[in-house]
């Protein structure tokens, strides 16, 4: 059979064919830009794979704490065998309750944020994160156009600004985090009202930082100064007044005229769970409406 032959020497023509197919795909998607011919395919795949990812993420939620079990068990190795059965039961119970408690606290935070800012917020849960091997820092949330979420809407959580919606399918939406290297947010300093641009560095870990470049070359940001979003007239993609982070240090580089500042984001991007999307006031579904809060 031909399969046996193929084990001797792989077919060059198949390799060339597949490589050409990849090159065609890349060209189509790259040249197409915003209205790429692959956008409908992407949306279709999103509509199929999104719900699967949502179910998997729900089913695997209790296993998220498994590395923690190993750490806490280190000192208990001697009587581990005896306690193992009992422990694992209790721990999985505990893991789920503490998860629920954390989520309730995050939702309360969102309600507070809605009350303070006056925006209507659609709460959603992060159900997937793009791997670092793909380099873009994106997450998937479990609400989409059916909850009034569309592209270029602001995403925040109880701590501060998370990012913006890149594209939305019926049940899920992809969010670009502000730490992505391609993300640029208009920022405003809390103390002096100076404006500038906040860029991501591509690191989601605890030491992930953002860079702030001020428009006014003479302005001097102070340490611990709060940076908030500057916003635009149409409030897209970012609504004004959402805190992004605090200034950690200031430096000036010889190449740039203006001062650069390092911003420590308020949000912990490696532990995102409940987020809120700022939606229009007429959005349907489970939306926290600023006007209806006590």
């Amino acid at each position: 059979m031909s399969m046996k032959d193929s084990q001797q020497r792989p077919s060059r023509s198949l390799l060339v064919l597949l490589l050409l197919a990849c090159a065609t795909l890349i060209t189509l998607d790259y040249r197409g830009g915003e209205d790429s011919p692959l956008a409908p395919v992407r949306a279709a795949v999103g509509n199929v794979v999104g719900p699967v990812e949502e179910v998997t993420s729900d089913a695997l939620a209790p296993f998220g704490d498994i590395p923690g079990f190993f750490r806490t068990n280190k000192g208990l190795r001697d009587d581990l065998a005896r306690l193992e059965a009992e422990n694992s039961n209790l721990r999985s119970e505990l893991a789920t309750t503490s998860l629920e408690r954390n989520r309730a606290a995050q939702l309360d935070g969102l309600i507070d944020a809605s009350r303070e800012t006056g925006y209507s917020i659609a709460p959603a849960r992060v159900i997937g994160m793009g791997p670092a091997q793909s380099f873009s820092r994106t997450v998937l949330i479990d609400k989409g156009t059916s909850s009034g979420i569309y592209a270029d809407m602001t995403v925040l959580n109880h701590d501060g600004l998370v990012g913006r919606v890149l594209r939305a399918d019926s049940g899920t939406a992809t969010v670009l985090l502000v730490v992505d290297q391609g993300s640029v947010v208009g920022g405003r300093l809390g103390s002096s009202l100076e404006v500038g641009f906040v860029r991501g560095r591509g690191d989601v870990g605890g030491d992930g930082r953002l860079d702030l470049q001020l428009v006014d070359t003479t302005a001097m940001p102070g340490k611990d100064d709060v940076v908030t979003t500057w916003g635009s007239r149409t409030s897209a993609p970012y609504v004004p007044g959402i805190p992004i982070g605090t200034i950690e240090s200031v430096y000036s580089s010889p190449r740039e005229l203006s001062k650069q500042a390092v911003v420590r984001p308020l949000v912990d991007f490696s532990a995102l769970d409940i987020v809120g999307v700022v939606v229009n006031d007429d959005a349907r579904g489970g939306v926290i409406r600023a006007g209806e809060l006590p």
């Binding site: 059979m1 399969m3 193929s6 084990q7 001797q8 020497r9 792989p10 077919s11 198949l14 390799l15 597949l18 490589l19 197919a21 990849c22 090159a23 065609t24 795909l25 890349i26 189509l28 998607d29 790259y30 692959l38 395919v41 992407r42 795949v45 999103g46 794979v49 699967v52 990812e53 998997t56 695997l60 296993f63 998220g64 159900i127 997937g128 994160m129 793009g130 791997p131 670092a132 091997q133 793909s134 380099f135 873009s136 820092r137 994106t138 997450v139 998937l140 890149l166 399918d169 899920t172 992809t174 969010v175 670009l176 290297q181 391609g182 591509g202 690191d203 870990g205 490696s270 532990a271």
Partner: protein, 172 residues
């Protein structure tokens, strides 16, 4: 009939790998990097059934990785990287045989090549998200993680493909 079953099993396997890669992130990611299950499937396919099958699987799995949310890069980049990975793994198989050490080395080499190719294509297309420093940080972690997972995943994948193969021989 057998061909249909085999295609369905392969599709389900790729879909499961892509979904797990995205959904398990908070449990297993190290510095944002998750083990590349799709790559392990491609290498397993190459070691049991040869380069052609592996290239095809790599192409399909890559497209799924490129299009499934929350991916946000030019489509076709992972497909390109994984087709090359499948081809290389298939070549290695003829030269090195099927020892455990050879498969670990194959995983390490293909993981390095695939992640580097993905990063390079990003640099060529001027994707803002990719920088050389970031690539140099991510690639070693991802190679290490793939190698770490090889003993757990690769034998299972290879056994599965072997069985699919046996059935085909038995019925044809």
């Amino acid at each position: 009939m057998i061909a249909v079953t085999r295609a369905l099993v392969c599709a389900a396997l790729l879909l499961a790998a892509v979904v797990l890669q995205v959904s398990l992130f908070d449990g297993i990611s190290y510095d944002g990097v998750v083990p590349s299950l799709v790559l392990l499937i491609v290498v397993g396919a190459a070691l049991t059934r040869g380069a052609e099958f592996a290239m095809t699987l790599g192409f399909l799995g890559g497209i799924l990785l490129d299009l499934a949310p929350p991916a946000d890069h030019v489509a076709g980049r992972w497909a390109l990287a994984l087709v090359v990975a499948g081809y290389l793994a298939g070549r290695v198989r003829q030269d090195a045989g099927q020892s455990a050490l050879a498969s670990v080395v194959t995983v390490a080499a293909t993981s390095f090549v695939a992640t580097s190719l993905f990063a390079l294509s990003g640099l060529l297309l001027q994707d803002d998200s990719v920088s050389v420093g970031e690539a140099l940080r991510v690639i070693p972690i991802s190679v290490g993680y793939d190698v770490l997972l090889t003993p757990f995943v690769l034998p299972l994948v290879m056994k599965l493909f072997q069985r699919l193969d046996d059935h085909q021989v038995a019925f044809s």
